[in-house]
């Protein structure tokens, strides 16, 4: 085998190349070159008004914009000392989960599945497996519509603002969505079964797994930062002390470490850390998936996402039930503009997302900081590629490339997020 480069890896979000160097028939280096040009969001928010931070930073990623918007809002609220209502929190969770349904369905069916059936894209599947494509579109569409319902729009939600929501869904529509969510539960279970039927390479990552964790709920909206191996828990406000960023030559995305170790975030770490918080349906799905927890195989991310789909359908139906019964208001709460520093974190579909800001007395932003899931995963992806490549170096070139691409896609990377 000779040196090779896979330019603009397809079926991932954003632009990234895989570079492989071979010396004397042995892979001497392999890495993900994040060629997405620098985007400067952390710098562009400086000097802007505090309420423009969610507007601007949600444009980091059109695929998980609800997650950026909610995380940015939480960080600004933390800086200004704003406490929102339980109703607002539940609506925000629905918005985050709408993004999960949309993102997980897209990643599983549009980005990942073609690899397992030997196709270049999902489009030919529409002719050969219309039921599978219909199922994918149904879950994805419900996710989008949930974001539309709660946020007014699935890409760059409108109604989620600092302090609450500018508009609320009609209760009759909420009720209808409860039924629709319960209706996709079997589709989500079929997704688990489909991905359980695909054979994946036996490979374990060495990276430390991180996720938010909470005793109250499957942690996607709030919780503490938890480490699987080291066992520690830290408040989100400590994230700059926990996670260190560094600049690497081959990437416009910074790499991150925790205690000198590469880390992995996303559905698999979440499930490993929070399996005890799964809904009943989620626990059944986990059993169907046949995963032994904790799993260290990054290729199991697909199954973990599928299990999360099952859990999300039941959990969101439950949130809607509470919203319909609880009363209260999600109208933005009043707050005072004052100087402060704040951090916010949520679990985006691809992993823990952090936003941090400083605000001056007049409400203008003095400092912006964003650490995205993919930025956290890149160092570990490079480490995994280095460990995985020698185990498949004897395969024909095309098969070698496909397997490496599959590893990359298992991380569900978002290069736009990584270079923000």
């Amino acid at each position: 085998m000779a040196d090779l480069t896979v330019e603009h890896v397809a079926r991932i979000e954003g632009h990234g190349n895989i570079s492989v160097s071979v010396e004397n028939g042995v892979v001497s280096s392999i890495r993900m070159d994040v060629v997405e040009p620098a985007r400067f969001f952390e710098s562009m928010v400086v000097g802007r008004r505090f309420d423009e931070a969610p507007l601007i930073t949600s444009r980091i990623c059109g695929i998980c914009s609800p997650n950026h918007a909610v995380t940015s809002i939480k960080a600004i609220e933390s800086a200004l000392g704003v406490e929102v209502s339980e109703r607002t929190k539940l609506l925000r969770k629905l918005l985050v989960y709408g993004s999960y349904l949309q993102n997980h369905a897209t990643h599983l069916y549009v980005f990942a599945a073609p690899d397992f059936v030997g196709l270049p894209s999902v489009f030919p599947l529409a002719a050969t497996h219309p039921d599978i494509v219909a199922r994918a579109l149904k879950i994805k569409k419900l996710g989008n519509e949930l974001c539309n319902l709660v946020g007014g729009r699935s890409v760059h939600p409108v109604t989620a603002v600092i302090g609450g929501f500018t508009a609320e869904p009609d209760p009759r529509k909420l009720e209808a969505f409860r039924e629709m969510l319960l209706d996709i539960a079997p589709d989500a279970v079929s997704t688990v079964e489909l991905f359980a039927s695909f054979e994946v390479p036996a490979f374990d990552t060495a990276g430390e797994m991180l996720a938010l964790s909470s005793t109250d709920d499957y942690a996607i909206y709030e919780g503490e930062i938890a480490a699987l191996d080291a066992g520690w828990r830290r408040p989100v406000s400590d994230y700059r002390e926990v996670i260190t960023e560094s600049i690497v030559g081959h990437s416009n995305a910074k790499h991150t470490m925790v205690a000198g170790m590469p880390i992995i975030v996303g559905a698999l770490p979440r499930l490993n850390i929070n399996a005890g918080s799964l809904s009943a349906a989620g626990r059944d799905a986990l059993a169907k998936a046949g995963l032994t927890m904790p799993s260290r195989n990054p290729f199991h991310t697909h199954l973990a996402q599928a299990v999360e789909l099952v859990d999300a359908a039941e959990r969101c139906a439950g949130y809607i039930g509470r919203l319909l019964e609880m009363g209260g208001s999600s109208a933005p709460v009043p707050f005072k503009i004052q100087a402060g520093e704040g951090a916010g974190a949520t679990e985006a579909p691809r992993g823990t997302l952090y936003h941090g800001y400083g605000i001056d007395d007049d409400g203008f932003i003095t400092r912006g900081d964003v650490i995205t899931p993919t930025a956290q995963n890149l160092a570990n992806l490079d480490a995994d590629m280095r460990a995985f490549a020698p185990t498949i170096a004897d395969r024909p070139r095309d098969e070698f490339i496909l397997l490496i691409e599959q590893l990359v896609r298992a991380y569900d990377p978002c290069m736009s997020c990584a270079v923000h």
Partner: protein, 247 residues
């Protein structure tokens, strides 16, 4: 033969392409009208050498983008710019309020130089002729489909010249300015059916400044309703250039 269509992305958040994939109900119908030859987000195929329509998302931020655009223009019969990044430079062009050196220093630290080939963010039609524009952050899929069908029929560009404010009146929304809240609808290009104000949020100007807009008059309106006139230009900067917002 169905027109061969490619989807190309420059500097963006992919949100407008996501909007394309979100046309679940229409996507397969639309695909029947055209031969979607290249779509990197959804397929591992390679960019072909011959095609009829190029749909381009994102702002121009590198010399590589410039070369790509020139190549696309030489091959495509029609070029469609989708999203505000492509149409006005959008949020990527917010970086132009400071020099690239400052941006690199703030984000990557003082020692990191401006990358080779990196240029100031700009809209697509600063580089090549664009046949059709679909503004919005993100695009509205119905507006995109109307635009695409016009392109496939060989019809001309059709961006509204008027301001969003009128649509907001038609929707009978309460006016934000009247209660002293900054809203950019009075200078922003119409066509969104006052989406945000109808959901209780002031216009953030995501479709760019309308050709018919009168900024001087808008500043007077701001002053009349107790909004700082300077905040008009400041707020418009998110989606427009410094030269445009002070006109």
């Amino acid at each position: 033969m169905a027109p061969r269509v490619v989807v190309v992305s420059l500097a963006s958040d992919f949100g407008c392409q996501v909007q394309l994939t979100n046309m679940e109900d229409d996507l397969l119908d639309v695909l029947g009208l055209m031969d979607l030859t290249y779509w990197q987000l959804a397929s591992s195929g390679h960019m072909p050498d011959a095609y009829d329509v190029a749909i381009i998302e994102g702002a121009v931020t590198t010399t590589e983008h410039v070369e790509l655009l020139k190549d696309v223009r030489s091959k495509a019969a029609a070029v469609v710019a989708i999203g505000t990044c492509a149409v006005t430079g959008g949020i990527p062009a917010l970086a132009n309020t400071a020099g690239l050196e400052t941006r690199y220093a703030t984000v990557y630290g003082g020692g990191v130089a401006v990358a080779p080939g990196r240029i100031a963010p700009a809209p697509i039609d600063s580089i090549i002729d664009v046949d059709y524009h679909v503004p919005g952050c993100p695009i509205d899929t119905a507006e995109f489909l109307r635009g695409l069908s016009r392109v496939l029929q060989g019809l001309s560009d059709h961006m509204p010249d008027q301001m969003m404010c009128a649509s907001c009146k038609v929707s009978e929304n309460a006016c934000f300015l009247e209660v002293g809240t900054v809203c950019l609808g009075l200078v922003t290009r119409a066509g969104c059916k006052a989406k945000c104000p109808s959901l209780g949020r002031p216009c953030t100007g995501c479709r760019g400044i309308a050709p018919d807009a009168n900024l001087a008059s808008a500043r007077e309106v701001f002053a009349r309703y107790g909004c700082d006139p300077a905040s008009l230009a400041s707020s418009l900067l998110v989606y427009n250039t410094a030269a445009e917002v002070t006109a």
